[in-house]
């Protein structure tokens, strides 16, 4: 009799416990959600430019415009970023006041471009290469560098150069990472500024079309080749400098380089470029 009562009581309890355990262990697969976005993003460009091989999107606008590509290939014979790479190498190897170098922060001689950006779970924020360079400096008693151009872009260019050929493979593996990704995604698709323009408006819907004398680049592959030597700037500059210029062009107030907004945008755009290779630094008009 006692056994029957016990069974009647424990059997449903056991089922309930098993159900609860299932719910608790059924983690959300954020990477799968992101994968669906990546596919839709790639499919969009594949439909717009059916003759462009996927790997070529790492070359930005030169993937989709033959004339510009020819000029760029000629420019690449004596790449204007070469001196910046040399300067970056010297800066990377120059000891801080405490005797250490950037090598104390970055393994593999600094060939780690492909490890950035990533979502730092402990700090709950996206870490970019330029942010890590400055954090290395501060950890070694040096002042942060300005993040648009100059020395930080040169160090970043050197690190990108020695990391060339590594695949883009940014993971979105947690709720925190997914939130950062979604903020970047919102920034990318939402319209900003007095001109009511979005990143997607220019670099998806109007990619390949002219904006005055320029041909708009496809967003796929945007982040693979930075930092870039831009003829308009006359020097090498960071991705966030470019973001600031674009934001300003829409009539919106630009965010500071390495702001949370731009780091999240870089995170989203780089995730969209998963599967391409890092091929920075590059030259652009």
């Amino acid at each position: 009799m006692k056994k029957k009562v016990r069974n009647r009581f424990f059997a449903p309890l056991l089922v309930l416990l098993m159900l609860l355990a299932t719910v608790r262990t059924e983690a959300v697969d954020y990477q799968a959600k992101v994968q669906a976005d990546i596919k839709a993003f790639r499919d969009y460009f594949a439909a717009q430019f059916p003759d462009v091989p996927f790997a070529d999107y790492a070359n930005g606008v030169y993937a989709i415009d033959a004339d510009s590509r020819q000029q760029w290939l000629e420019m690449e014979e004596f790449p204007p970023y070469a001196l910046s790479v040399e300067d970056g190498k010297a800066l990377f190897e120059k000891p801080f006041a405490n005797g250490k170098t950037y090598g104390s922060c970055f393994p593999n001689g600094g060939a780690v471009r492909h490890n950035y950006p990533y979502f730092d779970e402990k700090r709950g924020t996206v870490v970019t290469l330029e942010m890590a360079i400055n954090e290395c400096r501060v950890a070694n008693g040096e002042k942060s560098l300005a993040c648009k151009g100059g020395d930080i872009a040169k160090i970043s260019a050197y690190m990108a150069f020695i990391s060339r050929g590594n695949p883009v493979d940014v993971k979105v593996a947690s709720e925190g990472a997914y939130k950062a990704y979604m903020k970047g995604k919102e920034f990318f698709y939402a319209k900003h500024g007095k001109l009511n323009m979005s990143c997607a408006g220019c670099h998806m819907e109007f990619a390949g079309k002219r904006l005055r004398a320029e041909i708009l680049s496809p967003a796929l592959g945007h982040t693979t080749h930075f930092p870039v030597y831009r003829s308009k700037w006359g020097e090498i500059g960071t991705l966030h400098k470019r973001y600031g210029g674009c934001t300003n062009d829409t009539g919106a107030n630009a965010f500071a380089p390495q702001s949370e907004e731009y780091r999240n945008l870089e995170f989203f755009e780089t995730v969209m470029s998963n599967g391409l290779i890092f091929n920075g630094p590059a030259s652009r008009k």
Partner: protein
């Protein structure tokens, strides 16, 4: 007597038109404050426009120089930008997903 009447009428006319002008030009100081409030709200939402702060600064400078009408005009422009950028922020927060281009 006739001359006095004419002078009085002229004086009254000037006073009335000055009164009209004052009524037509809204309080520049209040407009500047409203514009700054709107700008800050837009900034907190991540949607501040590029020129709003500069317009507010110009309005403040005009007011400091005693150019109240010019200050009002600039502050009104800044306020309009501030209000439109806040409206843009609310609109985008609700609808940005509908802007994802489809094949």
């Amino acid at each position: 007597m006739k001359r006095n009447l004419l002078s009085t009428a002229a004086l009254l006319s000037v006073m009335l038109s000055a009164g009209d002008l004052r009524a037509a030009a809204p309080d520049a100081k209040a407009l500047i404050e409203q514009a700054e409030t709107a700008r800050k709200e837009a900034a907190s939402l991540g949607y501040e426009w590029r020129d709003t702060a500069a317009l507010i600064k110009k309005a403040q400078d005009a007011l400091a120089a005693g150019q109240e009408a010019e200050a009002s005009k600039l502050a009104q422009d800044a306020l309009l930008e501030g209000q439109q950028s806040v409206a843009q922020a609310h609109s985008m927060q609700k609808s940005w997903q509908t802007l994802i281009p489809k094949l």
